[in-house]
Symmetry: C2
Subunit: 332 residues, 2 copies
């Protein structure tokens, strides 16, 4: 029986289309010729020795010649802090200058690795770099929100092979984020509870959608996930901003993120995916109602006219089955 | 200079990324081997003679043996009116039974045609079928919204070659539609005007984003379009529901839709695209603030982590340049 499920956090209705449902194994893409990547590529701007091919470095872990992680400005930045912040409002045409920030985080010197295959220490370095950039950029006057994200594979919007993430800082609170905050406030006003803490507590109790629980983090498939194998990683400690994670959490997040991505890598044969860190807008701190988290979105289905025309989603995989499948996937 | 633009109708902020901007011609996909489709395909359930391969017919234009357009239930319907409408609300898990409707509109007997290549009369038949299904289905008790849409090409979410559209009727007002209505009400309360009528009037005055004006309809690239060559077709007459178009409008819409799709077909070499008809929820009629329209979304770019994490979009094509390019494309 098909079923509509409501995602109380994202405010989305999702059709769980059991009539066209697929088994978890059906999502493994047709085996294409796997391209074997080299450890180093002469013309890759992110490979060691080619540091001059990137725009200015903003941060580095390790030595200049033996770095572990680097962040640099994006060569074709969508937004730039060199722009003056200006607004125009002329009737139906409301615009702003492209003020903001856009950086690339080069996750590893090696061209042919992946978070799923790195050591815990290496993943910690990436998370520390995310946090350092977040903390510095949130101080820039005029920045309202910071979105850290990763695109893995062409189906997720990148053609660059070298492992990297991105950070875009915007001069406005994106409406989608504003809408989720409003929803969280409604819930808090109604119940006195954080909607994320409550969801985590109920998910842990139900157990059926949990993928991995570590000391400080839990990864799970949300009840009304908009896409097959869509996962959330929630911190157990209530905290509105990613910038506030402590040392112990950094170590545990590295473990959880790596293991969760390993389950995708081994279970679904290295699918294309995006992840994004959802954090409170930078000027709003210490709230009781918002809770930062990570969304991982494997790109195994294509939103079509119905999704574009309604904002609803059709998910052809039952979250409970997806979670059970991923729980059983073993790492390297 | 990059610029942020606000779409007052969709409430989206869009980054017009001029730093990474492409010229209109750059969006023509790399010439792949064009598959030449046959007029008839023995195993295609939508081809004439194979009527028994589809689920039950719901409507037909023409004779049983010589039909022009047919609508049938979707073989793997996402929703079904055979389901009983039931709601469950158990804390964080809110769900409904899969009550609704899902039909396929087979646009033409010929396997290898497209709206861009049909006669005006044939396109009118499709629009008449849309309207007939809309009018019948909106009377079903429990149906709240009807989304008519088309997926053209694999990048737009379909692998079926035979020209077809779909209709999904939902037992709830999708949150995205509710949000646009709220926005339209705000604007109406503030100005006493329909936000769509006002936008159309200002777009016609500015002229720079108009693609095609016919007697009753105008197609244009919205000021803050979320994707390259995203177009809207607005009816000139204020009317909240697609179900209310009259005979003259049906004829003119066929002309406008066909010519607009022709411009995509010839100008950008038959790109994958979706379109969707945005209409007011079926129980809300005769309002002053909402105005139905069609969105056409060519699938020339891939939303990635930033889009998923913020609800904002990066558009690498300037709408004004896209409109100028399409205005100059001549039909067959």
């Amino acid at each position: 029986m098909p079923e509509l499920r409501y995602n109380i956090i994202s405010r989305e209705w999702v059709v769980i289309a059991t009539e066209r449902a697929k088994r978890p194994k059906d999502f493994i893409r047709a085996k294409k010729e796997e391209k074997v990547l080299p450890e180093y590529k002469e013309n890759c701007p992110f490979c060691p020795g080619n540091e001059k091919m990137t725009p200015a470095e903003t941060f580095r872990l390790g030595d200049e010649k033996a770095w572990r992680v680097r962040s640099v400005y994006n060569l074709y930045g969508a937004l730039s802090s060199q722009e003056k912040l200006e607004r125009k409002n002329l009737g139906i045409t409301i615009s702003m200058s492209g003020f903001g920030n856009h950086e690339v985080i080069i996750e590893h010197p090696r061209h042919n690795t992946l978070i799923a295959l790195m050591s815990d220490q290496e993943v910690q370095d990436i998370i520390r770099t995310y946090q350092q950039r977040y903390r510095v950029i949130q101080k820039i006057s005029g920045i309202e929100a910071i979105i850290i994200f990763k695109n893995h594979g062409p189906g997720a919007g990148t053609s660059l092979e070298h492992p990297h993430s991105q950070l875009i800082a915007t001069p406005i609170v994106p409406p989608q984020i504003r809408s989720r905050i409003e929803r969280a406030i409604d819930y808090f006003d109604l119940t006195g509870k954080c909607i994320f803490c409550q969801t985590l507590q109920e998910e842990l109790k139900a157990g059926v959608r949990i993928v991995l629980e570590t000391d400080k983090f839990v990864s799970f498939l949300p009840y009304a996930g908009a896409a097959p194998f869509l996962m959330w990683i929630f911190p157990k400690r209530h905290s509105p901003s990613f910038s506030e994670i402590n040392e112990e959490e950094t170590r545990d997040l590295a473990r959880n993120l790596k293991s969760t991505l390993q389950k995708l890598y081994y279970g679904l044969d290295n699918p294309d995916f995006n992840y994004t860190i959802r954090s409170i807008p930078v000027r709003e701190k210490g709230t009781e109602y918002f809770h930062w988290y990570i969304s991982i979105i494997p790109r195994l289905s294509q939103p079509a006219g119905f999704e574009l025309g309604s904002g609803m989603f059709i998910n052809t995989a039952l979250p409970e089955e997806g979670a059970e499948f991923l729980r059983q996937v073993k790492g390297a």
